[in-house]
Symmetry: C2
Subunit: 322 residues, 2 copies
C-alpha cells in the first residue's frame, strides 16, 4: 500500500470514473485500472464495484477513501514541516539566559521571534552562566546569554552587550548624594556580590576592580539574583557594584552613582555549540539576535561622554531612584 496507489485510489474514489481520474492524474486509463486492481489484491479487499457502466465504492472503499485522504494530507504536511525545519522556519529553540537579560533586550528578542519565525517553538530557560555553559555542552539548550569576558572553551559566541558597572549604595549611605564616586571611597564598606558559583566572571571582575583601586573588598553577602543584590543594598546591608542596567530597577532605598575608575565592564555574550550551527533554526535565530543586539559603540567614545558629564537618557535615569 504505497503512497502512489493511495493517491490514485483517492482521486478515483472522488471521481468514480476511471477515465476522468486517469486524466486528472495525468495518466492513461489502463495503468490506473492496473494499479487499483493491484491495491485490491494486496489488501485482499474489493474497493470498487465496477458495473462497466458506473463505478461505486464498497463500504471498505468508503472507509479507505476517508483514511487515504487523511493520510495523504498528513504526508503533505509532513513534507512541508520537514522542509520548514530544514531551512529554519520551523523548529525548537531553547534559550538560556540570566535574569538580567530581561532588562537587556530579551523581550525584544522574543518579539522578533514571534514576528520573523512564528513557527519556531521558542522556550526560555532561566539559569546562571555556569549552568548555561554546561547545558550547552549537554545539548540541553541551543543558545545562551552568559556573563563572561571571552568565548568559553568549546563554544562559539559574540559579545551581545557590554556596559560599565556602577556603584549601588543605600540611600542612607554617606556618599549617597554623590554623582560620581571613587572605588577607594568604599574600601571599608561591606560588599554584596553576585553569586560566585553562578557567574564566576562577574565575581572576579568586581574583586579585580577593587584590587586595582588598592583594597580588598569586604565580601559580606553573595546573592543569586541581581535584584536581590540591589534589594540587599537598599536595606542597608552593604554596597555593591552592579551593571548599569540595574539602575532602571527602581528599587526604593538604593541609589546608583558612576564610578570614577575604569571598571571592567559587565559583558553579556551570546554563545552556542559550534555544531548547533548546522541546525538551521539556530542559525536563523542567531542572525535575528545579532540584529537585535544593542549597537556596539566604540568604548572610547562612551567613556568620554561619561567623564564629561554628558548623560544619555539612560544616564539620567540613574538618579531617579532613592
Amino acid at each position: 500500500m504505497d503512497a502512489r496507489k493511495l493517491r490514485y485510489f483517492a482521486v478515483l474514489a472522488d471521481e468514480r470514473h476511471f477515465g476522468r481520474a486517469a486524466q486528472k492524474l495525468s495518466l492513461s486509463q489502463p495503468p490506473l485500472s492496473y494499479a487499483i486492481r493491484q491495491l485490491e489484491t494486496e489488501l485482499g479487499v474489493k474497493l470498487f464495484v465496477r458495473n462497466s457502466r458506473n463505478v461505486r465504492l464498497t463500504p471498505a472503499g468508503v472507509v479507505l477513501q476517508r483514511e487515504a485522504q487523511a493520510l495523504l494530507r498528513r504526508m503533505d504536511e509532513t513534507e512541508q514541516l520537514v522542509k520548514a525545519v530544514a531551512d529554519g522556519r520551523d523548529g525548537q529553540i531553547r534559550l538560556g539566559f540570566g535574569g538580567s537579560m530581561l532588562y537587556r533586550g530579551l523581550p525584544a528578542i522574543v518579539d522578533e521571534f514571534r514576528a520573523q519565525l512564528p513557527a519556531v517553538d521558542l522556550s526560555l530557560r532561566e539559569m546562571g552562566s555556569t549552568d548555561q555553559i554546561e547545558a550547552l555542552h549537554r545539548d540541553e539548550i541551543d543558545l545562551g546569554f552568559v556573563h563572561v569576558r571571552t568565548t568559553p572553551t568549546g563554544l562559539d559566541g559574540f559579545r551581545y552587550h557590554a556596559e560599565p558597572f556602577v556603584a549601588c549604595l543605600p540611600a542612607t549611605h554617606r556618599h549617597a548624594k554623590a554623582r560620581r564616586i571613587s572605588l577607594s571611597q568604599l574600601h571599608r564598606d561591606d560588599f554584596v556580590l553576585f553569586s560566585r558559583k553562578r557567574s564566576p566572571d562577574y565575581y572576579e571582575s568586581i574583586i579585580g576592580s577593587c584590587l586595582s583601586a588598592g583594597f580588598v573588598p569586604n565580601v559580606r553577602h553573595e546573592l543569586a539574583h541581581w535584584l536581590s543584590v540591589v534589594s540587599c543594598v537598599a536595606n542597608g546591608l552593604g554596597v555593591a557594584l552592579v551593571p548599569r542596567t540595574l539602575a532602571s530597577s527602581r528599587l526604593a532605598g538604593a541609589v546608583f552613582c558612576t564610578i570614577a575608575e575604569e571598571t571592567i565592564k559587565s559583558e553579556t555574550w551570546c554563545v552556542w555549540k559550534p555544531k548547533s550551527l548546522s541546525n538551521a533554526a539556530v542559525a536563523k535565530s542567531l542572525a535575528l539576535i545579532k540584529a537585535c543586539a544593542p549597537v556596539q559603540r566604540p568604548a572610547r567614545q562612551r567613556r568620554a561622554r561619561m567623564t564629561r558629564g554628558v548623560r544619555s537618557p539612560r544616564d539620567r535615569a540613574l538618579r531617579r531612584t532613592s
Copy 2:
C-alpha cells in the same frame, strides 16, 4: 516521498547504521544508501550527517523520524481497518425500529452486537414502519424492524417475530373480568388504534379482524405509540386490540384478555435493501439478528394451547395489571 522510502528512513533513523538497517530491511546496503539519498534529494533536505564513521540525524531528520513513525503506524492501522470493514468485523450499522421492539428483544440484540461485533458502530433510530421503509430506500438506515405482513416491495426480509393481538379494556369495562372475549362483544365500543400513517398494516389488521367478526369498529382515537394506546384505554377512552407483548406494560387501569376469534397476528419483520448485503457488516448483523429471533413455533401448536386455556408464563402475566 513514498511509503517504501519512508519505511527505509524510519529503520535507518532508529539504527543509525546503514549496514544494520539494510539487514533489518532484508536489503543490501547500497540500495538503502541510494533510497535515502533519493529521499533527501526529492525533499531538498539533508536528513542524515554521515561521518563515514557514524550516522546522525539532522534536526529535520529528527522531525521526519517522529512523523514517519506516525505515518507508517497510521498506514498500518488503515490497512487493518479496511480489512476489518471488508469482512464485517468493523463498520457502521444504523438500525431502525419501532418503540415496541424494546419489548421484543432489541436489548438482547444490542448485547449480542457488543459481544460479537464490538468494533461495529451500532446506532439505533426509533421510527415508524413507514418511515423505516423510506429510510431504507434512501440508505439512511441499514436494517429495519417493521410491522408488515410481507416483505415490502424492493426490500428483502424475514419474519422476526409474530404474536396474536389481545383485547385491551379499561378496568371499569363491563367485560373487564372476562378471561376471554369475543370481538363481537366490542362492536359498540369506541376503538383506540395505532396511527394509520405510522403503521398501515397494524391499522388494517385490526379493522380487518373486526370486519371478520361482523362489525365496523368505531375508530375514535389514533395514537402514535402503543403505550399511548394502552394509556388511553386505561383512562376509559375506549378499547383496543394490541399485540400481546403490551400486556407486560403494567399500566394501571388497563386489563388484557385473549380474543376468541383468530385475529391476524402482529408481525415484526426484519428488512433491508437487497444491495446492502454486499456490506459485510450488514450480512454479519443479519446473521446475528436471526440467531436472536424468538423461535418460530408452528402456528397450529400455539393456537391449540391458547384455546385449551393452557397458559405460558407470558399468558399468566396477562391478568396481572388492573
